[in-house]
Symmetry: D2
Subunit: 506 residues, 4 copies
């Protein structure tokens, strides 16, 4: 098990804490010796490190006091004690997006712990189990040691028309394959895992509604990421190998990047005290829904990336000598409008948060889905506009090596000259950043992961449908149209409008 001696404080200490672990990580078919020093992995570690530094620099934003441990803790480890706490998660997320221009990988863990807070409480209430207390102990420990927690939810899923227990291969969803006095053994694989190998612990959770036959799949537990039996296979992404090239221009954002792995579990042990659900299959969907409710609103982080992209577009317009041209200005305004539309939905969702039985606050579900749904669309339009503003040189620019070469360097200096006073190198840097965010390594996070993370667009539409209270709305229309003798039966299972018209608690 994890043997941290004293709490991690800074990003640097965090990076130190990752070294020397016995992780089995494969990349390009080979075992990675030390992920921390691998040039393609390191940027993703730097992004997480930033979450530590921010907590040091901006306490109110990122280092709140927890009533669980009684200490100030990193907000990513904090259980939301008010709607305001939810709002502050969003604000911290935007800030970190601005500082890294990429995914900083800690939201899944934060959202997992928060959703487990209420779910374990309600399981215990029904089944007389002790999950909630165990969870609190776990939280206390990670808060105190200040660890990074990954959350592993998405199973590989196999044939999507079949339930976990119906799959030809039972391992296509993570499940208990054995158990003894001390705990359980799980086998399976989780796909699209963000930042797992940059974590200290991960929490495994089911990925969907389960039925009685799927009982063995109803397992939630925490385990160190270097637990025996885990294999990580690193995902490849657009332009990933540029991190391994010399120089720091072509990579676009040389310091920060995201990380996605497939995590394979082969009889991995979870001790009893780290188990937070074990067979209570009927709570799987509650957990998933609460997790996605938090998590869809966590995509506000993308407005921080949007800020960077808007800034890059404005900078390149200036370097190109056209910052005052009306259509250029107009495009940058449009980018801003769209970016803030995303932000607004996240903040509104958090602000309309409400207290659960366990005491934790959960944000509004409708607006969280609206936020995420905008995230599946608007960043693509921002990216398109950024490419428009950047000009064609975005995709025809020669390499940094060319720029450094004695033969071609001077030619580029001569011929890539734009407005006088602008360094060619700086122009290249901004262009490569835009490439990075719209078709390169961080486009993965800014675009495709915006599309599919926390559920693909259709998942949000389903959830919006569930809460849109058509009965209530039809009745509004019927009232105004004076429809005769055809009242709506309003059997709504959503509380959205109750929340909309609720008087905020002081």
């Amino acid at each position: 098990m994890q043997k941290t001696v004293k709490p991690i404080r800074t990003g640097e200490e965090y990076i130190e804490s990752l070294k020397g672990r016995d992780l089995k990580v494969y990349l390009f078919g080979e075992l990675v010796k030390e992920p921390v020093s691998h040039p393609m992995i390191r940027p993703s570690i730097n992004a997480v490190a930033k979450t530590y530094d921010l907590a040091v620099e901006e306490e109110e934003l990122a280092f709140p006091k927890s009533s669980i441990s009684g200490e100030r803790v990193n907000r990513f480890l904090h259980i939301a004690e008010s709607a305001e706490d939810l709002v502050l998660q969003n604000k911290m997320q935007r800030k970190l997006g601005q500082l890294t221009g990429t995914c900083f990988q800690r939201c899944v863990g934060m959202d997992a712990m928060n959703s487990l807070h209420s779910t374990t409480f309600e399981i215990d209430e029904k089944h007389g189990t002790k999950y909630h207390q165990r969870l609190l102990e776990f939280i206390k420990m990670v808060q105190h040691e200040n660890l990074v927690i990954g959350g592993a939810m998405t199973d590989v899923k196999g044939d999507r028309s079949l339930a976990p227990s119906e799959q030809e291969d039972p391992d296509l969803f993570l499940h208990i394959v054995d158990r003894d006095d001390k705990g359980v053994y799980v086998t399976g694989a989780k796909a699209h895992q963000t930042g797992t190998i940059n974590s200290h612990w991960m929490i495994v959770m089911p990925t969907m509604r389960l039925l009685e036959n799927d009982k063995d799949y109803a397992i939630v537990g925490a385990l160190p990421v270097d637990a025996p039996g885990i294999t990580y296979i690193y995902g490849r992404q657009s332009c990933d190998t540029r991190s391994m090239e010399p120089g720091d221009i072509d990579v676009g954002n040389s310091e920060f990047g995201g990380q996605e792995t497939m995590v394979i579990f082969d009889r991995v042990f979870i001790p009893n005290e780290m188990i937070f659900m074990d067979g209570e299959y009927e709570f799987a969907s509650m957990l998933v829904e609460r997790f996605t409710c938090y998590h869809r609103r966590s995509y506000v982080c993308k407005t921080g990336l949007g800020d960077v992209l808007i800034g890059a577009a404005a900078a390149i317009a200036e370097y190109n000598g056209v910052p005052k041209v009306s259509h250029i200005k107009d495009k940058i305004i449009e980018m801003t409008h769209l970016n803030e539309s995303i932000y607004a939905a996240g903040i509104a969702a958090s602000y309309q948060g409400h207290k659960m039985k366990s005491g934790v606050f959960l944000n509004d579900d409708m607006l969280a889905n609206v936020c995420k749904h905008n995230v599946t669309r608007l960043p693509y339009e921002l990216a398109r506009l950024a490419q428009d503003v950047a000009g064609g040189i975005l995709v025809t620019l020669p390499s940094e090596a060319e720029f450094r070469s004695a033969e071609t360097g001077p030619l580029l200096e001569k011929y890539l000259k734009g407005k006088s006073g602008i360094e060619v190198e700086n122009r290249m840097r901004i262009l490569r950043l835009i490439e990075n965010m719209t078709m390169g390594r961080n486009a993965v996070g800014y675009l495709t992961e915006s599309m599919h993370g926390a559920g693909s667009p259709q998942a949000q539409r389903i959830q919006i449908a569930r809460q849109m209270q058509l009965g209530y709305k039809k009745q509004l229309a019927k009232n105004l149209a004076k429809v005769k003798e055809d009242p709506e039966e309003m059997k709504e299972n959503s509380e959205y409008f109750k929340r909309v018209f609720k008087i905020p608690e002081k």
Copy 2:
């Protein structure tokens, strides 16, 4: 002056209070005897009446306690004492949109009083004037008597390339033409005035930034709507005369409608104690900007209309027998998503409100503009989708007279039969409501007025541009791209990001 004997309480009492006034209102070239009983005007009065009834029915939402008068007052007369008050304005606005399906005409007055609260305070601070105290007296009076206040801002403007004082005809902007001991006399005209003749008092205000030569145009004052010298010319709108036809189906929404007039002032007197600005031209733009800041976010009301339209679309889908068809469901989900995107921006703007020197709260300006800007686009898409769901019958449906006729009525009953069990009349009613909101009388409020009210789209883009803090964002990009020796000078005059990352006050 206004001689209300006792406070108005209900909608009915409000309607009573409007009767018998000596208003000079022209409609179709003729003087209207009694607006209250004019069938084309009455629906707009009913809409205002609903704002009284709601205050009776839902105190927390619409009848808060004012620390000015110490009484519970209608929220439309309330000065916002917290960010939460701003949020509750939005919630009330959505509710009233749901209940009326139209513009209820009181937001201008509310937003005018709130923006005057801080502006008069700051004028006094600079000039040692007494406007703020006068305003508080006025507010106390209207709160106590529970009156409707209109706000008259938009001048007719003449040649848009010239300042008020430069126009060929000096009356194209409202201005002081004379003054004596008791007060001032004003002449001019205000266009696009919403609900003025349904008000008890109106507040005149300048419509734009003024310069020294425009001093006479820098006049803010309150006056009863029946003050001598005022002429109202009623605007015509799509399908307006249907309100004057027999029957209640074809009109779509027989009870509620909006109202727009042109108001012409011919030497209208404003007594000194009702003057809140008089010549302090340099504060005109502050007033206008604060007013539009409040008012652009007030367009959240349109989400209430959106709820009605979504409900109508869902109802007609059911009447057409296709509520489960996947593309129909999908369109209704899309309508909901767009509608809530508007709502979110309003709520977020209000939530990010901050306290002004005078004590009143002002919402965030960027997000208010984002809210309004979405309002200039998304309702049009909602309307398009509603027409898609409704089917072609929306525009080929015969008249109610046909339905009531002995010859054609039975034919319609036979041939307009859809799904069994559905009354043809109810189907007609819902279709006419959709027509009303997408191309009829209330389309004016739901669409065109959504476009131009509180400033046309371009006005929001200018305001968004002012606050988008490109310097800050460019620096973010330069940091990540490691741009060398080219730091941004960040002379931002916007506080948007300060607000974004501010810790909410408890």
Copy 3:
């Protein structure tokens, strides 16, 4: 039967030809004495009249030579003898849209005759019937007498989940209720009938795929619109009664308008020689598909209306004094881009036309659907942009009566003054035209009918799906991705790509 003595030549002669017929038309619950002189109906007649005048004025465009009658005939009565003829239909349609700003109501008849040309030929081929020759005789007659032909396809449909023969009431689809030596008797009702009472003859056709049990519904025949047993119920539309008010400003487009009626058949007789299908139910879907193939591309007419709306937006920008403002210009460019995108799809569909067995040309189906599908979206955006450019005065403008009044007229002249040199009346006229096209009477044709005419959006999506040849495209992708051992079986039933890559015939 129709008793025209000599061919109609001009619009005036056409209007004359409509007078004195014994039509049973109901409007507002009452029988209309003479539709030709009814102020609400007349604009729709004027629009049809324009199709005659154009043929006189522009022979090449609108008065081609027919190889059936050997004479020059109105293009609306012409059977397409080349792809070029199809293209010229589109060009004429755009021109008439420009000249009338509304629906000129003759495309259904044109498209019906063209689709019957090939369908009757193929029925005869299979069944040995004589429909094609009968149709040719009918065409010769109407070509010679130069008559207006309406096409009546859309049945009222009742419960959409049931086939015609399964409906509770058998009359919900038009069907044969009796027959004798001379012909058949039909009963039923057709909804959304465009311009029927402005026609001389109409052709009834089934509205959907039929099965054996629906044999009696498989009837196609021509009959004079004043045949005994027909009742017309006039549809009401936005702002329709403005045509009946004094003055010509408020109506927006005083001369031209559309017309939609419900047509009810009560044992209406069709003589044998006018029957073009009688029981061959398996050809119903062929007829419908060919008709919609022609007709969806006929919506190119809306680009003519788009031209008018763009012109109106440009004119009002000028009257408002802002024609050079960059965002205004940009919006007008965008309107043009969208309008031409529609046009292009229509022209491309016609150009890729091909010859049928009967000799008539049929345009490409995919592109016709793409054209119509754009028509269900882009005019709404054009309308939104036109409202944006117009300004709020669009919906607050007082009535023409006010403008003519001695009291308020001078006030409007004074206060609606914009840029110097612009007549207030002209500004009002253009504003009312924009209102007319975006929310008034002709918005019905420009928007809602654009949505639903010739099939609602989903109908186009289904048809696009049928022709998109995914097998072919999947194989393209598999080739490039070097997918192993998984070739596509390409059982495409579409010839789209064959057409795309076909060498045009000279």
Copy 4:
């Protein structure tokens, strides 16, 4: 000079013809020995080779008879002799897009030769020069030898607010620096050059309107790509180095790719007989406008890429086991609709082509701009939808090396299993193809180059504005609104509507 012995016929022969040339190409700072065998360059050569093979396989489409040489020639070398020829260019372009999934790099040369055909004719007409005849000789030669011609237009431009002759460094636009009896010497640099090093000859042309002072910049001439003094610097693009990795999966499209270089001219000689403009600066804008008129419509090629992407989306939907899910189907239909909207505009532009004085046909300019403008938007939406359909695995998929590895390969085989019967490898292949086209190497061509090639979006808007004939359209509106005494002066310089209503020539 070029010394081809016998005409090139096949793709293979073409590749052979490129070998052993003395080209100075830099890539990653180093001189490339033999571009033909460089793994990163070769895919772009393969794409050009396909244009030869198609001419062999589909003569009617790609190997027309030229009346210049009297022989059948590759269509890329053909001068359009009819509107049909223009249409066939489009059809060939779509086909090649389908076959390669990338840019095949020959359109610039084709469009340059066609625009020079008419421009040289008109220069000669005015100045009595002999350019046209020289051009015909050049065309005859390249047609006979069947060579690839590149066109070099876009200068690097320096400070965009200054004319060529005003730049601090005169070389920022290509210009004549010396001349002798035999010809001229040019210096400068062309950016964003597509496929130049895959060509045999290139034609240099000015990039914008020139004034008298820019006379030395008014040079058009043909020269072999290996002429002394030319340096090529290869542009880097998203994921470009994957072509150099082992395996053929991760690259997505292993066979085909695009190519962009910067071309630097240092006193490069052009002999007199290869000069087609020399100082006639007033014809520069005519040449540029005609070139972009052809070239903007040439972007129809992107519909071929769209077909591949649609096919890939359909294939992955099937591999994911969800081909029948309604929202998936709907997204593929939408992709098709958008793709065909682009195609339609191209075809319509070509079809509305007209004959120039020199005999060559030029397509319609308005519709060409509409086509290209759609290309700057719709492929981005297609890409977004493809990423939606693909699922998150698109950006988390492990590398091919992993799949081939003895340790991780079996894990991937086990856990990436989807629907039974689907090979994991094939699923990976299709996913990588989608990545390739939406964020990888061919996204450059499908997206960013679609944005900026042949002029950025704003360039099309300017051109649309020039041709939108607002005077004509305002008059249409004024006619219908019965505007009094304010006729439009129609000084349109566009012939668009003349073309729209023109009777097509037989």
